[in-house]
Structure formats: C-alpha cells, structure tokens
C-alpha cells in the first residue's frame, strides 16, 4: 500500500509537471547559460503575476463546474474606467479609489455572470461569452478607447516599491520584483486555504463534482456558483489594476485573448474542465511552465514566426498528458 502511494505520488500530475519544468529549464540553460541565474527567477515571477492571478480566478470557476472566458473583458473595463475617470473627469490621486473602483467593476460583472449561470441556468461558456461582449462593447461605446499611460502619484508609488532588487554580477543589470508580486502569493495561499479548510471551498468541489448530489446534501448551489463568479470578478478587477500599475498602461483591449493561455495553465495544472478537480499547487506549476515557455523561446533560439506554433504544441501536449493522467487515476477501482 505504501509503495503504491509513493508510486502514485511520483507519477501524479504535479510531479510530471515538475519533471517537464526541470527538463525545459535544463534545455534552455544548456543553450543559454545566462538562464541559470537568480535574475531568471525574478523575471519569471514578475512575468507570471497576471497569469497567476487570472489562473486562480479561472481555477475557482472551473472547480465549481463552470468556465469563465469573460475575465479579459472584465479586466479591461476594470482597468479602463478608473483611469478614464482619473484622467478625464476628476484627477483623484488615490490608489484606494483606483483599486476600489476596479474591484467594484469586477464584482458587478461577476454578479452578472453569477446571475446568468446560477439563476438563469445558461451554459457557462455562452453566458460568459455574452458578458464579455457586453462588457467590452459597452465600455468602448460609452467611453471610447484611449490609452492611459501616466499613473497618478499614488499608483506610481506602488510601482516604485520593490521587494527584491537584484543586481546581476556580470552585467550589472538590476532585476526588480515589485511589491505587487505579494498579491498572487497571498491569493494563492488564501485560495488554497479556502479550498481546503472552509465549507465554502469544499462546497465548490461538491457542486463541481455533482450538482444534484450537492443540492440534496443541502449545499446552496446557486450561492456557491455566485461566489465562484464574483470571486473571479473581484480578483480580476484587482489584477487588472495591478496590470495598469505595473505596465503603465490602461486600454480597453490590453488583456483580450488571455483566456486561452490561462485556461491552458489551469488544465495543465490538473484542473479538470469538467469540474470538481484541481488545486492551487498544480495551477502554480502550470503557470510557471507556461510563463517559462512564453518567455524563453528566444533564448531557445526558436524563430519568431515559429513561436506561436511551438507554444501551441507545448500546450496541446501538456493537455494531452494531464488528461490522460486524470483518466488513469480515476480508472483504478478500489
């Protein structure tokens, strides 16, 4: 029995992911020794901030048995409206206002998603597609599209706060890790705790596993679905404002198209698209792998025009491996 458990541990989705990550790093490192440096860690951490946060949103929704493809649009609205107000209406120089409004917007659209899915019982993919169209179409129609690139001082102050400053000995380059990196870290810990140690979290797994069973067990299915989508909306709002801070940019299209990579990160991390399975650790690894791949293809020497293809290939293979893995694990009967 014990042997069996260690064996299944060694071939679990997370471990396989880890092997792949290590192998990828080795290959890149061999081609490009500069890769093996603390700088790489910082760079990956910095580059993965948004994907990680969005992946957490998506994971919670996927676990509950839904899917959310509206977060890029919601994020764009959430980053655009506050900056629009600050730049064009009244110059409110307050980080609290910017983040507060972004989160509020995320919350509202999250509630809309929740309403469509749990009250009207529309299929999640279609419902969130609709929300996506409504959000991005609505905001551009009302407020137009501009690009805001100057931050008010309060947000600039956040941008200037770093938790790690590393100077590479050879080149003298400085690598900075912004304080906002703590957000995904804390969010991961928080979500992991929530999923494991609260009835809310277990309820999400329950409704993702079998909605009817959850209903007869006395779970409030609607409330749990509402929670999943509003949680996703809120974290999306916050992440979008982080994007504005870190990238000095707020547009109505900055995040569009991100859902593909984020869903892929979740699935590679062992979250099943059919609901009820997956956890934070796997998703973190999935995000790490995807971020690594996205940001090191030049180092690997892949020609630019082939990079889309290579990313696609790796994601497809990752999906195939994890799906096959999931099938194997649910087949062993006891």
């Amino acid at each position: 029995m014990n042997k069996l458990k260690t064996k299944s541990l060694l071939t679990s989705t997370q471990m396989i992911l880890l092997y792949v990550i290590v192998a990828f790093c080795l290959v890149v490192g061999i081609r490009q020794p500069a890769f093996f440096s603390p700088a790489t860690v910082i760079t990956i951490c910095r580059a993965g901030i948004f994907t990680m946060c969005f992946a957490l949103c998506e994971m919670v929704v996927l676990i509950s048995g839904g899917i959310d493809v509206s977060f890029p649009a919601i994020g764009c609205v959430a980053m655009y409206v506050p900056m629009y107000i600050i730049n064009r209406v009244t110059p409110i120089d307050s980080a609290l206002f910017a983040f507060g409004l972004a989160i509020l917007i995320g919350l509202l659209f999250g509630l809309l998603n929740g309403f469509l899915v749990s009250i009207l019982r529309l299929p999640p993919l279609i419902a969130t597609l609709a929300t996506s169209s409504i959000a991005s179409g609505g905001v551009v129609t009302l407020l137009g599209t501009r690009e805001f690139t100057t931050l008010p001082d309060s947000l600039q102050a956040i941008y200037n706060t770093n938790i790690i400053t590393y100077t590479a000995p050879g080149t003298g380059f400085t690598y900075l890790l912004n304080v906002l990196f703590l957000v995904p870290v804390l969010a991961c810990l928080g979500v992991a705790w929530m999923l494991r140690y609260t009835m809310l979290g277990r309820g999400l797994y329950a409704i993702g596993g079998d909605k009817n069973a959850a209903r007869v067990a006395g779970f409030n299915v609607r409330r749990l679905q509402f929670f999943a989508y509003t949680f996703s909306g809120v974290l999306t709002g916050a992440t979008a404002m982080m994007y504005t801070v870190l990238m000095h940019s707020s547009t109505t299209s900055a995040l569009m198209g991100d859902e593909m990579i984020v869903i892929a990160a979740c699935v590679i991390g062992g979250v099943r698209i059919t609901g009820g399975h997956g956890g934070v650790l796997g998703v973190v690894l999935g995000v790490v792998l995807i971020t690594l791949v996205q940001n090191n293809l030049n180092m690997l020497g892949i020609p630019t025009s082939w990079q889309t293809f290579v990313v696609g290939l790796i994601i497809l293979l990752g999906t195939i491996i994890t799906s096959w893995q999931a099938k194997r694990s649910s087949h062993g009967k006891a």
Partner: protein, 337 residues
C-alpha cells in the same frame, strides 16, 4: 451514475414534433422586427439592391464556418480552432496558387488542397478528442494556436497576396447582380441540411451528441463519427478559407479573428443546444441572415461597431432566456390540453 431520475429538469417538451419549432418562429419574428424597424428608420438606404448585394458578399464566409461549428456542437463538442483551420487552408491554397503562376489548374488544385488541409486539421482534432477522450473545447483551444502558429510559420509573417483574378472572382464576382458566394452558401446550406436530415452520418452525429455512451452501445463507431464530424467541420473551414482568401485577396494567419465568437453567437441564436444533440440547419441559416441584417442595420444607422458587440452579447442572453421561457410555456400548454 448521474441518472436523470433525481434531476428535476425543465419538463421535457412533450409532443415536440407536432408544433412549429418555437426557435424558428422566434428567429423569423426577430428578422421581421429588424426589417420593420429599418423600414421605419432608414427605408431609403436599407432596402436597396446595393445594400442587399453588400450583405450577400459578407455573410457566406462566416455562414459556412457556422455550419462547421454547428455540427461539432450537435455532436456534443465545439470547434474553437475553426478560424485557425480556415487561415491555414487559405494559406495552403494561396501558396499553391501563387507558386504555380495562378493558372486555372493551380486554382483548382489550390482549392482542393485547402479542403484537404481543412479535412486533415479537423480529423486531427477529432482523433485527439475521441481517442483520448479529452473535452473538445480543450483540444480545439490548443489546436487553434497550433494551426494559427503553423500558418504564421509557413508565411513567415507577411500575407500571401496577388491572387489571380479568376480566384479573386470566387468571392468577389457575380452572375448578373447575384454574387457567386450566395450560390456557394446555398449549396453548403442545402448540403448540410441533407447530411443532417437524410444521411446515416447526420443521424449518427445527433446520436453521438445526445448520449455518447449509448451511441457506442448502439454500435455507432464513436471514434469514426467524431473524426468525421470534425473532418467535415474542417472541410467547411477549408471552404471558408478559400472564400476569405479570395474575398480579401490575401492569406495569412490572422484573418477573421472575430469569427469564433460570431459563429458561436450564430449557432446558439440558431437553436443549437450547447450540450449537444439538438440543432437544425434551418435555424442556423436563419440566424446567419438575422445577424447580417442586424450588422448592416447598425452600419447604416452609423452606430459604432463596438455597439454591435454589445448588442450581440445582449442578443445571445436574450435568445437563451427566450428559449427557456418559450419551452416552459409550451410545456405548460401541452400539459393543459
């Protein structure tokens, strides 16, 4: 294990076959509404031959694509890679046509290759989906990137242009006042209607989408049907690829990027059930027309394009809600009688 016995699902619509399809009625009345509205608002510019022609030039591309999405969804899946297939096959056709000097033979060969490329891409999707039983949504999400990437890699970036006139004529020419593409669209629609209603394969698609396990136990080769469904979808993607390459005189990886969303909207509006097993060619055809009517109405009303996106989103929700409401009402009526 999830038997339906504990599901207090929406009461099944009894005697469904006896009533006119509520969905088709809804679509027709929506079309009537749009036409009526435009008759009041902009009679002069909306009801013109040139507007009709301009509409006909536009919808076949994504109309054909919608049928591909439709069969995949009826079979219980989805094909998010259609636009990728469309561009990849467009690139393949363009490559052959331009390299062979644009002769008529090269055009025929190019079109054939486009269809073959579409079929191969679709078959690959189908094979991965069915043999490894991975949700179609995932597989096609990944393969979209794969096919787009391949198209990009083949062209190296820049579009392939300078198609011969004969090829450009496919999507831009007309017989008298009627564009060729209208005939192509009608042919595809009729072909699809025939396949879905009158062939074994069409019925097998419905069976697969209704209950994949039961389909297997009924002797339906689910692997073959899934592969064939996606292959057909890929072929439709190939046709679309030819149309768009001809229409735009250019083949590249990023054409028609908004079509995925549009085709999903079309088929759901057209009554294809997102869980599979239900949907009609007629509904999808009407839905294509309806959306084109609306799109042109917007342009003529000088509404910003983004407003159209907003309205499409609302329309999608409205259509689904209306569906639920109507079915409930119909069930109640059936119960009373």
């Amino acid at each position: 294990m999830k038997t339906t016995k504990t599901t207090p699902a929406v009461p099944a619509l009894k005697k469904k076959g006896l009533k006119p399809d509520t969905h088709i009625t809804v679509l027709l009345s929506m079309m009537a509404f749009v036409l009526l509205l435009m008759a009041v608002l902009k009679p002069g510019s909306y009801f013109t031959i040139s507007n009709l022609r301009s509409m006909i030039f536009q919808f076949p591309e994504y109309g054909v694509l919608s049928f591909g999405m439709m069969i995949c969804m009826i079979a219980g899946g989805i094909d998010l890679s259609l636009v990728g297939i469309m561009n990849l096959s467009g690139v393949a056709a363009a490559l052959i046509i331009t390299n062979m000097g644009g002769t008529n033979a090269s055009i025929v060969l190019g079109c054939a290759v486009a269809l073959v490329v579409g079929a191969i891409c679709g078959a690959l999707n189908g094979f991965i989906i069915a043999s490894l039983s991975i949700p179609a949504m995932l597989v096609t999400l990944c393969s979209l990137q794969l096919y787009t990437g391949l198209a990009l890699a083949i062209t190296g970036g820049p579009a392939i242009n300078n198609m011969p006139d004969a090829f450009k004529n496919i999507a831009n020419g007309s017989i008298g006042p009627i564009p060729y593409v209208l005939f192509i669209f009608i042919a595809v629609a009729l072909g699809m209607a025939f396949i879905m209603n009158c062939t074994v394969f069409g019925n097998e698609i419905y069976f697969l989408g209704s209950n994949a396990r039961a389909a297997r136990y009924s002797g339906i080769n689910t692997l073959r049907v899934t592969v064939m469904t996606h292959m057909l979808s890929g072929i439709l993607g190939g046709i679309s690829g030819i149309l768009i390459t001809s229409h735009l005189n250019s083949a590249k990886s990023s054409n028609g990027s908004t079509y995925t969303l549009l085709t999903l909207l079309i088929i759901v509006l057209g009554g294809v059930h997102p869980d599979g097993g239900k949907g009609k060619v007629m509904g999808v055809t009407l839905s294509v027309l309806l959306l084109q009517l609306i799109a042109n109405a917007f342009t003529i009303m000088r509404a910003p394009d983004t407003f159209k996106t907003f309205v499409n989103g609302c329309l999608l929700v409205a259509a689904l809600i209306l569906d639920v409401v109507l079915e409930k009402r119909a069930a109640k009526k059936a119960a009373k009688s």
